[in-house]
């Protein structure tokens, strides 16, 4: 054991550790966790980006609370921003202008807060894609997937409640739309709206109510969920991609102390620093340009933050269906895009891990990630969902698109309506085909080696490309392909001839199982691989010199240099 000198500072530190240990037994915790191993992959940093930008949101948010006044009391602007001098506005908007123009660092903090929120939402979305497409949600991590989806939804509310607070024209318009949606809820809509707003829209209560929700309730829920999310990651250990030495029963990577303390800790500062630099240089949400909110004004081309765009897009592309019956009104044109579609999407997201587990009957723990191609139906479903989402998102900017490309707004909307039904299934089919094709290529590479780019000419004049065995890394990835078999057709009767009482149910389950896991390219058997390895070992002449064309031609004519490799290695 190398014994380095213990410095006085370290001695103090040891004293603190002992003090704590004698009271809470913390050394045992350190012993178990300080050298916890984490696997390395760039995509594992996506969740970190989300976590770190959340911390940045919290820090900058605390600063903003020191200056922001969540009040709808009317004041007359008397600040340094000339165009708004003498304009009546709410105290909330006035204080937001004050933060932007008078408080040094105020605008920077506002922009840090907003940029970090955008980073947060973006990182959550991409992190979720990573987890979905690699199957990281499988047992034992289904619950953490549910926590993650809830986090995404609450984060969305955090964002919306945040940019609605400054009471500028844009945020007020967003609230008006939200109020219109609440009004459309059957039976309780008008009551819900009146209770939320303290009466008619906009009233004078809402900003202060929303403020409490935005700075206390939502961050509290987010913090609680994030804590659970991280604790589960910690307890269950991180998943890893297949590779040499990596199995379903280990974690290969670097220990927390010191590597990940430096890397992950450093990464926090990188994310934080980048957000601050962007916030210093790139303006967003210039509330002073929009002016104070008044319910009878709006500007054309208004856009919400990107993560709300898909909901706005859904509202835009929906046909105007409204049902009147028995003296009541059901606004399907609002309910379907604003509540039903988001509800279905959330439910499907939450349910997916359980659907897959149920349809496969698989009860094993999974710690090795799938490569997306190795789960073709899952990947295709994911791409299908993303296609649907992106189309809605594009819908949120249909006016910008119509103006930008000089199209009729009506044709843009009709194109989107049709695309929303037609494109997702097409995306599904194409993605699945690509996945299966990639699987075929993997099989090919495993059995016939990779293409080296070196062409060999045979004595008989035939050209061949030399193939070489894959390296360890590639090989391990391909061999790790999961073998999920769809459930077999249920027997109609059991061994003693009694009819299966759940036959219909079992059949349906087998059908879904077939859909999810049926299509796959058979992985090579061990025997095939062994045979291929032997074969390749004979064939490979990778170190053969690359010759000038003339020289090579001569030798090939002569036929004496290269041993005939026998059967071809071409694919």
């Amino acid at each position: 054991m190398s014994t380095s000198q213990i410095s006085p500072v370290e001695q103090k530190g040891a004293g603190v550790a002992t003090y704590l240990d004698e009271r809470v037994g913390s050394n045992g915790f350190l012993r178990r966790n300080l050298n916890k191993v984490f696997p390395d992959h760039w995509s594992f940093m996506l969740g970190e980006v989300a976590l770190y930008s959340f911390i940045v949101v919290l820090l900058s948010g605390v600063y903003l609370t020191l200056f922001f006044k969540p009040s709808m009391v009317e004041v007359i602007y008397d600040g340094p921003y000339i165009p708004l001098k003498g304009v009546k506005m709410s105290e909330a908007y006035d204080s937001a202008l004050n933060i932007s123009f008078e408080v040094r660092g105020g605008l920077l903090m506002r922009q840090i807060h907003h940029w970090a929120a955008l980073f947060f939402m973006t990182a959550i979305a991409v992190h979720m894609f990573r987890v979905f497409f690699t199957g990281a949600f499988r047992k034992p991590r289904e619950m953490n997937w549910v926590v993650g989806v809830s986090l995404a939804m609450v984060a969305l509310m955090a964002g919306f409640s945040g940019y609605s607070l400054p009471d500028d024209l844009l945020s007020g318009t967003g609230l008006r739309i939200a109020e219109g949606i609440v009004l459309s809820i059957p039976i309780i809509g008008t009551w819900a709206s009146f209770l939320l707003f303290g009466g008619e829209f906009p009233g004078t209560d809402f900003i202060s109510r929303l403020y409490g929700i935005h700075i206390l309730l939502i961050p509290g829920i987010l913090l609680a969920l994030i804590t659970v999310h991280l604790m589960m990651v910690w307890v269950q250990k991180h998943t890893q991609f297949p590779g040499p030495a990596r199995t379903n029963n280990n974690v290969v990577g670097y220990p927390l102390m010191p590597i990940y303390m430096a890397k992950a800790g450093g990464f926090f500062f990188l994310v934080f620093g980048i957000i601050v630099i962007i916030a210093g240089l790139v303006q967003l949400n210039p509330i002073w340009i929009f002016g104070p909110y008044t319910p009878d004004q709006v500007s054309a081309g208004t856009q919400p933050d990107w993560y709300i765009g898909w909901l706005d897009g859904a509202l835009r592309v929906m046909p105007n269906w409204e049902i009147q019956a028995f003296g009541y009104t059901l606004s399907l044109n609002i309910l379907i895009p604003a509540l039903v579609i988001p509800g279905i999407i959330t439910t499907l997201l939450i349910a997916y891990p359980f659907i897959e587990a149920w349809a496969s009957g698989d009860k094993r723990e999974h710690h090795l990630l799938d490569r997306p191609r190795d789960a073709p139906t899952r990947t295709a479903l994911g791409v299908m969902a993303i296609t649907f989402y992106v189309l809605l998102w594009i819908g949120g900017g249909n006016d910008i698109i119509a103006v930008g490309f000089d199209l009729s707004i009506n044709s843009v909307i009709w194109a989107l309506r049709i695309s929303l039904i037609v494109l997702p299934p097409i995306a599904f089919v194409i993605t699945k085909r690509i996945c299966l094709a990639l699987q075929r290529r993997d099989r090919e590479k495993l059995l016939h080696g990779r293409e080296t780019g070196q062409i060999m000419r045979m004595p008989n004049g035939e050209f061949l490309e030399i193939h070489a065995p894959l390296n360890e890394e590639e090989r391990a990835k391909i061999i790790a392909k999961p073998q999920v078999k769809p459930l077999p057709q249920p027997p109609e009767t059991d061994s003693s001839g009694v009819r299966n009482p759940k036959l219909k149910k079992d059949k349906r389950r087998a059908k879904i199982s077939q859909f999810l896991f049926g299509d796959t390219i058979a992985a090579p058997t061990g025997e095939e691989i062994a045979h291929a390895d032997e074969h390749l070992a004979h064939e490979v002449i990778e170190d053969a010199p690359v010759m000038a064309e003339e020289e090579a031609l001569q030798i090939a004519h002569d036929g004496s240099v290269l041993e005939s490799p026998g059967t071809s290695g071409k694919s």
């Binding site: 054991m1 050298n35 916890k36 191993v37 390395d40 340094p80 123009f101 040094r104 660092g105 920077l108 922009q111 034992p140 109020e179 219109g180 009004l183 309780i188 008008t190 209770l195 939320l196 303290g198 009466g199 008619e200 829209f201 029963n249 974690v251 290969v252 990577g253 670097y254 590597i259 430096a262 890397k263 450093g266 990464f267 500062f269 994310v271 620093g273 980048i274 601050v276 962007i278 916030a279 210093g280 240089l281 790139v282 008044t294 319910p295 009878d296 004004q297 709006v298 208004t302 706005d312 592309v317 105007n320 269906w321 409204e322 606004s331 044109n333 609002i334 723990e365 710690h367 360890e472």
Partner: protein
């Protein structure tokens, strides 16, 4: 390629690379993973190592320097100074300087730490075994037993009446909190349901139409064919309190357009125009955005929020988009002085649809 392969422990004296044997000796250290490992320059070349140390400490030092620069910028740069940057354009100099210095101060700490980890700390991958999440059978059995004993000794199973009454009490106890939320809306005297309030606006028979910002009455003769004026009821400025002012505005805001009488194909009521001047609600019947885009050639009104389109020459019926109801028309005429006045309130509900609406109004 093969000479940099390192499957045997490094013995270059690099501080962070520990040998296999040492790792095996240390309690709590993980075994090395059986994977290819390439030595880095910093593992083999002491000069590269020194350079890396220098780079890391320089980054930390620069971070400290940025903090000093931040303070200088905070004090020295006036609030209204503007700086023009390539690609970005003219932005506030103070904000930019603070953002860049503060941002770099933070970023450089991270860059230093990551560089340190990548160049100087061990990059030997190790293996930690996983264990099934499941608790072993013995512990599970003990837990189950403790539960059983608890169930028996407490009488939870024995006295169902206790169990059921407790569940009942627990189910009901959140109700007072929910009921207390009722007064989030302090219902004004004479009003019983929200929909009553939503169905009336400030417009009354004989009330003048005034411009929305300067509150000037609108003379019929002053509106040219093809013109559009944003109007509110003349009483709106009298609604003192900000709350009621904005609330009243949110329902009563209207637009006045003029077309030649023969262009009018239909109206929501006979003679609701005044010599081709028509007044409509400005609040979209979809989700309540104020509608402001009017195309005078087609007489179409387009909502900028969700693109609902209404034909004002044809009773403001919906011609496209997600709105289901036409825009309510305000019957108007002129008073003795030639100013536009309302004949009555809107006859159809203004703004978004809601459950209690009894008719389709279109």
């Amino acid at each position: 390629m093969s000479d940099s392969k390192d499957l045997t422990p490094a013995s270059s004296g690099a501080p962070a690379t520990t040998s296999d044997t040492q790792q095996a000796l240390r309690p709590g250290a993980w075994p090395r993973a059986e994977v290819e490992h390439h030595l880095r320059r910093t593992d083999t070349d002491p000069r590269a190592q020194k350079r890396a140390v220098r780079q890391v400490s320089t980054m930390f030092l620069l971070s400290a320097l940025m903090v000093v620069l931040f303070i200088v910028a905070f004090i020295a740069i006036p609030r209204d100074a503007v700086i023009t940057l390539p690609y970005i354009g003219a932005i506030g100099a103070l904000n930019a300087a603070m953002g860049v210095t503060f941002g770099l101060a933070i970023f450089l700490i991270g860059a230093g730490a990551v560089h340190w980890a990548k160049k100087l700390m061990s990059d030997v991958e190790v293996v930690q075994e996983r264990h099934e999440m499941k608790t072993d059978a013995d512990d599970t059995a003990v837990a189950a037993d403790i539960y059983e004993v608890g169930k028996e000794t407490s009488g939870f199973a024995k006295y169902p009446v206790i169990r059921r009454t407790m569940l009942l009490a627990m189910a009901l106890v959140p109700i007072p909190f929910i009921v207390s939320l009722r007064d989030l809306w302090l219902t004004p005297p004479g009003v019983t349901t929200p929909s009553e309030e939503l169905l009336v606006t400030l417009w009354k028979p004989g009330m003048r139409l005034v411009t929305d910002i300067t509150y000037q009455p609108v003379r019929a003769d002053d509106i040219p064919v093809g013109g559009l004026v944003n109007v509110v009821p003349a009483d709106l400025p009298l609604v003192e309190e900000e709350e009621h002012n904005l609330n009243a505005r949110a329902k009563a805001a209207a637009i006045v357009v003029r077309m030649t009488p023969d262009e009018i194909q239909s109206q929501q009521g006979e003679g609701w125009d005044y010599e081709g001047i028509l007044a409509f609600s400005k609040i979209c019947t979809h989700v309540g955005c104020p509608i402001s885009l009017y195309q005078q050639r087609t007489h179409e009104l387009l909502c900028p929020c969700h693109q609902s389109t209404f034909n004002l020459a044809d009773s403001a019926n919906v011609v496209f988009g997600p709105a289901a109801r036409r825009m309510p028309q305000l019957p108007i005429t002129v008073d003795d002085e030639g100013y536009l006045v309302a004949v009555s309130d809107f006859k159809e509900p203004v703004g978004p649809s809601f459950w209690e609406l009894k008719e389709s109004y279109s």
